[in-house]
């Protein structure tokens, strides 16, 4: 009788340990699988991405003007600067065309509380891999028509390529990375 009870107790313990192994195994499987699966597809692998991104400060919105003597005298002594240069800069106007079709156009306001910082753009355009004629235009002056900077280039976009259109005025304007 005692042997039977011991046997039954050992059997219950064995079942319990086996069940624990199953639960630990299930938890391990959960951790192992979801730590890296299922795969997420963000961009079609046959597509590339054209990324238009730059940070650039436009011209001041208004030109500096010379203060008259009377105007200078109205100011506190430490504020008497001959030139009055309003800080605010113009909005940038940016356009991007692909094979003659305009895919982006926006006015980019300057950053900063006084509007004297750079304007920025950061835009992605997934496109099927292939050859494209790309035209980027930027107006950063007070002019009301036309653009100050233009880039026209034929590019081959390969699958998964990250084609970046940057802009640096000091190195000649638009630049493809």
């Amino acid at each position: 009788m005692a042997d039977s009870r011991t046997e039954s107790s050992l059997s219950a313990l064995g079942m319990r340990i086996a069940a624990q192994v199953v639960v630990y195994g299930a938890f391990a499987a959960l951790l192992g699988y979801f730590s890296v699966s299922p795969t997420y597809t963000q961009v079609d692998p046959d597509f590339g991405v054209i990324k238009l991104s730059f940070s650039h400060a436009g011209q001041p919105e208004t030109e500096c003007r010379r203060r008259s003597q009377e105007q200078l005298e109205e100011l506190a002594p430490n504020m008497r600067k001959t030139m009055d240069c309003p800080r605010r800069r113009v909005n940038l106007l940016v356009e991007l065309e692909l094979d003659g079709e305009r895919i982006y156009r926006d006015e980019l306001p300057p950053s900063g509380l006084s509007g004297d910082g750079a304007s920025t753009v950061y835009q992605d355009f997934p496109v099927p891999a292939g050859r494209y004629t790309l035209v980027a235009r930027l107006r950063d002056s007070r002019r009301e028509q036309g653009f100050d900077w233009t880039l026209e280039r034929t590019v081959d976009v390969s699958p998964r390529q990250n084609l970046v259109i940057d802009f640096r005025a000091e190195t000649g304007g638009f630049k493809i990375l």
Binding site: Q20, A28, L31, F34, S35, T41, V43, S55, Q161
Partner: protein, 530 residues
């Protein structure tokens, strides 16, 4: 909402019962989710320190150093890396389960708001720690995380220039950003550790270590997983290419795919809104139902047992203020008191053997005073006329007491069975009010008020003051810890207990007209203690 929570609680308790069957109440991981969180945190910390020795934070070196650890030093750093990842993932699982469980059980209201509210920022820190960790490996997942995170952050009006431009192209990538990320990956977990410490500040005897058996099993599971399915990097990051497909860690990054569908501002709004809802949740109605414990200085000698037994550090001692000859007095911090009554059960003056007019213990619940409780118990016992008479004393969080009622059985529900001083059981049995006392508390190992079961068992086993006197036959007391889903089993246990009492006392017909000899005998023995 109450109906939803009730249904969830029922379901949760069924699952917990299943785990009870597999692990037993002591090792049931669902009762130790917070402690498991601490355990995983230490594994993450120790493995992280080891990995940091070999990690190089340079743009070109980060990936190579992780590859070296994974493939060359696979037997040490490789396993450490896998432990680091899998423990981090397990950390998310237990933390979210802990959060859900506390919500379902309603353990965030009233005085327990502190643990809840301090837990909310921990969620943010947990995700920030994990996300920054994936970033510094600098594989394709890191690239995806870096670009997606910075683009998401750029939707907030925080940065003059988009920080995503740091990851525009290989030619524009700077190692300085990496150094910053490594700093964040160390600083955020350190901040989290501090907040975790704050999180448990209102707990007396906080459980920060799981039971040893559970620890060994869990660590063994992580080790086996690390060896069988080691964590590896994906392809090296290359900013000249977009990450088209990526293996995501869905524990840390479940929201990231949504960034490709919904505006980042919307997701920030949802996250901030959810955070605010979680924070205000404890302060929404319904609020406190029972008033906090109060100290009666005339009956408090400053012994400190209530201080030692309070699970929430709500009672403390301070120098005497009433000029009595004792050095200290107990004082209750109302904001911390959950009105469980465990302090009342610990008070040596809380004894029913005193005359009724005197039954005002040193500490008491004003809405469930011990004087009234004694009267209720005596009245309820007096209405019983079927042998053996049993007083069932249960709590609101345990098995449904209504299911236990029947002839010969009186029911009394307390906030926590820990409120019942052993002297009350002594009183009920030795004075012959009942033949037995059936204590039916919460599910074994899962006390609603943390320590009620532990203290009750220790008091009845004479291991903790105030303990049950030796004169009370232990076989006349039955403790049964069970959740709400165990009503039928509790009923069978009660039937078994009553059958055992019948056997002890023999056939009541033999004693017709003789009263209750055992009760009288015990009562006579106890007369000197009245």
């Amino acid at each position: 909402m109450a109906a939803i929570r009730s249904a969830l609680r029922y379901g949760m308790e069924r699952v917990e019962s299943g785990f009870d069957a597999v692990y037993g109440a002591d090792w049931n991981p669902l009762y130790h989710l917070g402690a498991l969180g601490w355990f995983f945190f230490w594994i993450i910390t120790i493995s992280g320190i080891y990995l940091y020795i070999f990690f190089d934070s340079g743009v070109d070196q980060a990936y190579e150093s992780v590859e070296y650890m994974t493939h060359v030093q696979w037997y040490a750093a490789g396993i450490m890396r896998s432990l680091h990842r899998y423990a981090s993932d397990a950390f998310v699982v237990v933390v979210l389960a802990h959060l859900a469980r506390q919500w379902i059980k309603g353990n965030y209201n009233d005085a327990r708001w502190f643990g809840w509210v301090t837990g909310v920022p921990l969620l943010w820190l947990m995700y920030a720690s994990g996300i920054s960790g994936y970033w510094i490996v600098w594989d394709s997942l890191a690239q995806y995380v870096a670009v997606a995170t910075t683009e998401w952050l750029d939707t907030l009006p925080l940065f003059g220039e988009p920080i995503a431009r740091n990851f525009l192209h290989e030619s524009t990538l700077s190692g300085r950003f990496f150094t910053l990320m490594v700093f964040i990956h160390i600083a955020v977990p350190l901040t989290m550790l501090f907040l975790m410490w704050v999180h448990i500040q209102r707990h007396m005897y906080p459980r920060v270590n799981p039971p040893r058996g559970l620890m060994i099993g869990t660590f063994g599971m992580l080790m086996v997983l690390s060896v069988v399915y080691p964590a590896v990097s994906q392809d090296r990051a290359n900013l000249n290419q977009v990450v088209a497909q990526v293996g995501l860690d869905w524990f840390y990054l479940p929201l990231y795919p949504l960034l490709d569908v919904y505006p980042g501002e919307l997701l920030w709004g949802v996250l901030v809104g959810t955070t605010l809802v979680l924070i205000v949740l404890p302060f929404l109605p319904p609020r406190r139902r029972v008033r906090p414990a109060v100290v009666d200085l005339d009956n408090c000698n400053g012994c400190g047992r209530c201080v030692a037994d309070c699970p929430y550090s709500a009672v403390s001692l301070r120098p005497r203020t009433d000029g009595a000859s004792y050095s200290h007095e107990a004082v209750v911090t109302n904001e911390k008191c959950v009105s469980c009554g465990i302090c009342v059960g610990a008070c040596p003056t809380s004894t029913p053997f005193r005359r009724q007019s005197d039954l005002v213990p040193g500490i008491d619940l004003p809405d469930l005073a011990m004087g009234a409780l004694r009267e209720n118990l005596v009245t309820a016992a007096g209405a019983l006329n079927e042998h053996p008479r049993v007083m069932v004393i249960g709590c609101g969080a345990g098995v449904s007491l209504d299911a236990l009622s029947g002839p010969g059985v009186a029911i009394k529900s307390l906030p926590c069975v820990g409120q019942l001083p052993p002297s009350f059981i002594d009183f009920l049995i030795t004075r012959g009010h009942v033949e037995g006392v059936f204590v039916a508390g919460c599910r074994d190992g899962d006390c609603e008020y943390r320590l009620g079961q532990q203290w009750t068992e220790a008091r009845l086993d004479q291991e903790r003051d105030p303990h049950l006197r030796s004169r009370v036959p232990r076989e006349r007391i039955r403790i049964y810890w069970a959740g709400r889903d165990r009503a039928a089993a509790a009923g069978r246990e009660l039937d078994g207990f009553r059958a055992a009492l019948r056997e002890l006392d023999g056939d009541p017909a033999d004693r017709k007209g003789e009263g209750h000899p055992r009760g009288e005998a015990i009562s006579a023995a106890a007369a000197g203690h009245g």
